[in-house]
């Protein structure tokens, strides 16, 4: 999975949650703060990535995933 693929999937799912705003997000913006996501929204993002990319992010790792960059780093491991 390339960096671009991960970013594209992230922005696509964020756009589904907050229409249009996934595109505006900078790589180091705090996703939850910038897009005002609650726990239900964040779970939707994790679910979307699970369905799209087949990745399973355990709940205990949610806290580390605060920016797009953090997601990319986490998912490219």
């Amino acid at each position: 999975m390339t960096r671009d693929e991960i970013l594209a999937a992230l922005r696509r799912h964020l756009n589904a949650i907050v229409p249009g705003e996934g595109d505006e997000l900078a790589l180091d913006d705090d996703i939850r703060d910038e897009l005002d996501l609650d726990s239900m929204d964040f779970l939707k993002l994790v679910q979307g990535l699970h369905e799209d990319l087949g990745v399973d992010i355990p709940e205990t790792d949610y806290g580390k995933l605060d920016t797009l960059e953090a997601f990319v780093g986490y998912l490219s491991r």
Partner: protein, 491 residues
Amino acid sequence: MVEAAAGEQLFTMPSLGADMEAGRLVAWKVGVGDAVKRGDIVAEVETEKGLIEVEVFADGVVRELLVEPGAKVPVGTALARIGGAAESGAAAGGEAETDGAGAGGAARVDVAYAPAAAPGSAPGEAIGEPVESVGETAYGAAPGKTKLDGAPSTPAARREAREKQLDVGGVRGSGSHGRVGLEDVRGAEGDAGGARVASAAATGARGEGSAAEAGRVRATPVARRRAEERGVDLGAVEGSGRDGVILLADVEKAPVGVTGPAKTKAASPAEAMRAAIGAAMARSKREIPHYYLTHTIDLGAAMSWLEARNADRPPTERVVPAALLVKATALALKKVPELNAWWTGSAAPPKAEVNVGVAISLRGGGLVAPAIPGTDQLGLDALMAAMSDVVERARRGALRASEMGSATVTVTSLGDRGVESVIPVIIPPQVAIVGFGTPSERPWVVDGEVVPRTLVTASVAGDHRVTDGHHGARLLARIEKLLQKPEKLDS
């Protein structure tokens, strides 16, 4: 009343709660000639509960749309005629078999759907109806008639309301059957403008403009609206009503201004919702003597249990802590049923079902609290699915009429990134609302030791007309107890 012809059914403005008196038709999802099935979404309605999709309860063909988008009409008003499927061919004429008042409804349709009519002519004349009937049906009763926006009111109350430019429909009646009396109107006039807020919501984006205008020209709300539609300058109209108040008939007789007929302005959904929330909350604060209690609850056991439960599940089957809090609240209410009730005007008999309304904030502003039916009966997975579904639909403005107005209590939870506690406002006619702040790690004493622990501050606002703080305290204690045995919440 508009009456259904043989083989027809009337689709009416639904009641989405005991307190709902009127709703604004925002959009039709169907057109004349469309076949509809029971359960199909046919219209969008703006109510005090927000924007709602309304289902039809019969199969058939839409024969006639009786109300124009933008119009606010009382609960029970016929919105459309639905004919039997077999008769679809005969529907084209749409001729109305109505009594006197209903003729206004037919005239209204011509206004809305016959743009060919000359702009300057009174729409009613086009089909030979008295002009005033247009105003009566479309906008609530004309001055001097018995009803405004469906709320029964006394003649003195109506006169007072006219003089104060208040919308009687926005005033809560204290008389029998919610009848609005003189004192109610005076009370409403004295507060921060709840009734005017309702009125502003009814007239859309003009809210501020009409408040300012009220100081200069005295006209009835219906006359004001008609004047705007026709492009009539109210300042140039001579009023024939009491003390020179401009009536609908005066506007109809007046020459059309140089600006020509104005398009009916619609408030943006966000503005309309803000005004509706303002009206509902002003009413709550005006009428309900709230009491408030807060209690810090140890969520340690619940969070560990939930973490373990989620750990071996794929993301699609995980449950968020909010679902546990909602379930605990629903179960606790079974033990304190006095708080799971609707105020009926003199009492609040407990409801048999616990339908928790879940407060959902909308992006772009606004708030809705659709009900999850039988919340106490749902396992965590089913409850999570129901919450997730309702949040998603609330945010795209696709809630159903059947979900609105059936909440017996509300839970507001400020998510996992919000504030420490919330002191909530009861949503009438409910008599209680439970709030949860952000669960967060704080110092807590366990067995004589200070340890870090995930805590949540729970709160309840109760209606003192119905219960005392004792009931609220029992509820919070019960919620706390249930959250210490989280596995019992999953059934």
